[in-house]
Amino acid sequence: MADFIRNPVVALPDPNPESYFSEEELIFTEDEKARIAGWVSQYPTSDGAVMWTLWLAQEKFGFLPPEVLQLVAAELSLPYAQVYGVATFYTQYFKEKKGTFVLDVCTCFSCQFCGGYDILAYLEEKLEVKRGHTSACGRYTLQEAECLGACGSAPMMQVNNGPYAHNLTPEKIDELLEAMEAGKPLPFVSVTLPQDEDEMGGNRRTDAEAVEGYITPPRSERTQ
């Protein structure tokens, strides 16, 4: 046997992965099954519904370990390999357990030059967690995100794959974290502003100042 077969160059997935959920937990309710059937009916084959179903599973279980992927595969009568392939392709599907709050701070180029890295560094310090990791208390996962499509209100971040927080400042972040700690709804709206906010009663950023130099170098880390 060639050496690379015995010692593969890449780590293969564990054939007997540790299970996070018990048999009883690993089911879809009738309600959820009906939703899945609804998605399946919208596509010529059940393959099309896999992304929606993975979203549903992630909402329910918090993340997508192998046994959840198997559950999705069984529900849609698809090969496990296909579901595994899809789940691992997209960044928003969590393959490992994350904190209660997942903070995606955009540092892509508009945000980069409007202080995105300052926001990231402020959160790193405040939550005592490095980017890409979950805090020791298990409450916060801090991630660096690519452009989230809100460059006009940079710097910004997304909370739990859901609402956006625009025009971030350290004060705004303090407020946000306080609300999260207290379990209250987030004190802002995702809505961005129309062209003539005065006409429309909007609130386009008025406190924009020239960035005089960054506290944190606006630099991405080398991808490993």
Binding site: E146, C147, A150, Y164, T192
Partner: protein, 429 residues
């Protein structure tokens, strides 16, 4: 007089200043869906496509392909062969945030456009692929879509015409590459989103192998305007060869960033003024006129340049998505390029070696220069790398990664050279 004509008195049509226009009843009260009804009753499908051709509309998704022409590529209808429309709302190009604004404030204009396109090409279903990050806006679209179905504006026997047109929302999950049309189709089919080799083009073999047309959100939202107000009206707005209203997404070091609707062909300098000028009265250093993939322009290159396909090509860049990033004099172009390279390395799907490895080496080399450990010859190595990547891959992501690298180095060479170790060492140093 610029190409944009009398833009000071331009009245917005894509994002008109109407409160709660996103509600179906408000949209209808402002004449919404009347165009669709008229089109269904009075026009033949071919006439709709002909109007689209006459309007001169070019796709707003980045490539700028003439929309009417694209629609006419659909093969003749065959019984039992389904055909599809795909609306590309995957908007992930850095610096672009116009489609989200449109879906937020005027979703029914998009839906109406989708239905008109379905009629023009005799399609029964449209998949609206929205990027997963736009979760809040997907919920928003779902609500409005449900109202439409209740009002019989879509679905079986829509508006009592006997047509059946469905709009299906599809939620992505965070991958830039899904914006590429064939990748989007793979993603819809529930696979890993690897772009396909073209040909066959989507009109021959698209989703599940069936004829498919794919258009951007803003492109489709222009359809009701063209058919409602006339192709000539549309062709008369803005730049002659690239007409129509355009959503400019302005970001970066300006006082009032945001999405602005104006005719195409606006002077860049006018747009900068509209956006409140540079923050802190600093000087402009560089401009990215259409999202991360297009070549960056130096401040001295924008004089007299207008925002349309022709003028920007002459200036040495592209219109792309019209997501404009203004950068001020303090901007570190090496850090800028490092972040851009990081983006492409992160988003490469990994299918083609020149792209998968090339974007990685690009990031490594630029990081090395940025860290002060680069050599002058690394710059030429980077340019050589761009040559090795361009045109050698399945999709255009590798080109999109190479263009900004090549042009940023060319146009800001001193910034890079200053950070590199000298080529020749002083003898007694």
């Amino acid at each position: 007089m610029t190409k944009a004509g009398n833009w000071q008195s331009y009245e917005r049509v894509l994002l008109p200043p109407v409160e709660n226009l996103h509600h179906l009843d408000v949209y209808r009260a402002h004449g919404g869906y009347e165009t669709l009804k008229r089109v269904l009753k009075e026009l033949e499908p071919q006439e709709v496509t002909a109007q689209m051709k006459r309007s001169g509309l070019r796709g707003r998704g980045g490539a700028g392909f003439p929309t009417g022409l694209k629609w006419s590529f659909m093969p003749p209808v065959k019984p039992d062969v389904p055909r599809y429309l795909c609306c590309n709302a995957d908007e992930s190009e850095p610096g672009t945030f116009k489609d989200r604004q449109l879906m937020e404030y005027n979703p029914h204009l998009l839906f109406e456009g989708i239905l008109i396109a379905c009629y023009a090409m005799s399609l029964n279903a449209c998949y609206l692929y929205v990027r997963g990050e736009y979760a809040s806006w997907i919920t928003h679209l779902e609500e409005e879509l449900a109202k439409m179905y209740n009002a019989n504006l879509a679905g079986k026997n829509m508006l009592g015409t006997g047509h059946c047109m469905d709009i299906v929302l599809h939620k992505g999950a965070g991958a830039y590459i899904c914006g590429e049309e064939t990748s989007l189709m793979e993603s819809l089919e529930g696979k890993r989103a690897y772009p396909r080799i073209k040909p066959p083009f989507p009109a021959q073999s698209g989703i599940w192998g069936y004829p498919t047309t794919i258009n951007n959100v803003e492109t489709l939202a222009c359809a009701p305007l063209i058919l409602g107000k006339g192709a000539d009206w549309f062709a008369g707005i803005g730049a002659e060869k690239n007409p129509g209203p355009l959503l400019y997404g302005i970001s970066g070091h300006v006082n009032r960033p945001g999405v602005y609707e104006y005719p195409t062909g606006m002077l860049i300098t006018d747009l900068l003024e509209i956006a409140g000028g540079m923050r802190g009265s600093k000087k402009l250093k560089a401009l990215v006129p259409g999202g991360a993939s297009v070549p960056v322009l130096r401040a001295d290159m924008i004089e007299g340049v207008t925002m349309d396909v022709e003028s920007l090509r002459e200036a040495g860049s592209m219109l792309g998505t019209a997501g404009m990033l203004f950068l001020d004099e303090d901007t570190d172009m090496v850090a800028f390029l490092r972040r851009v390279a990081h983006f492409y390395h992160h988003e490469s799907c990994g299918q083609c070696t020149p792209c998968r490895e090339g974007t990685g080496w690009m990031e490594n080399l630029i990081t090395r220069i940025d860290d002060g450990e680069g050599n002058l010859r690394d710059l030429d190595l980077l340019l050589d790398l761009c040559d090795q990547m361009e045109g050698r891959t399945v999709c255009a992501l590798a080109d999109a990664a190479a263009w900004p690298v090549r042009n940023t180095i060319k146009r800001f060479r001193e910034d890079f050279e200053r950070r590199c170790r000298p080529a020749v060492w002083a003898v007694n140093a």
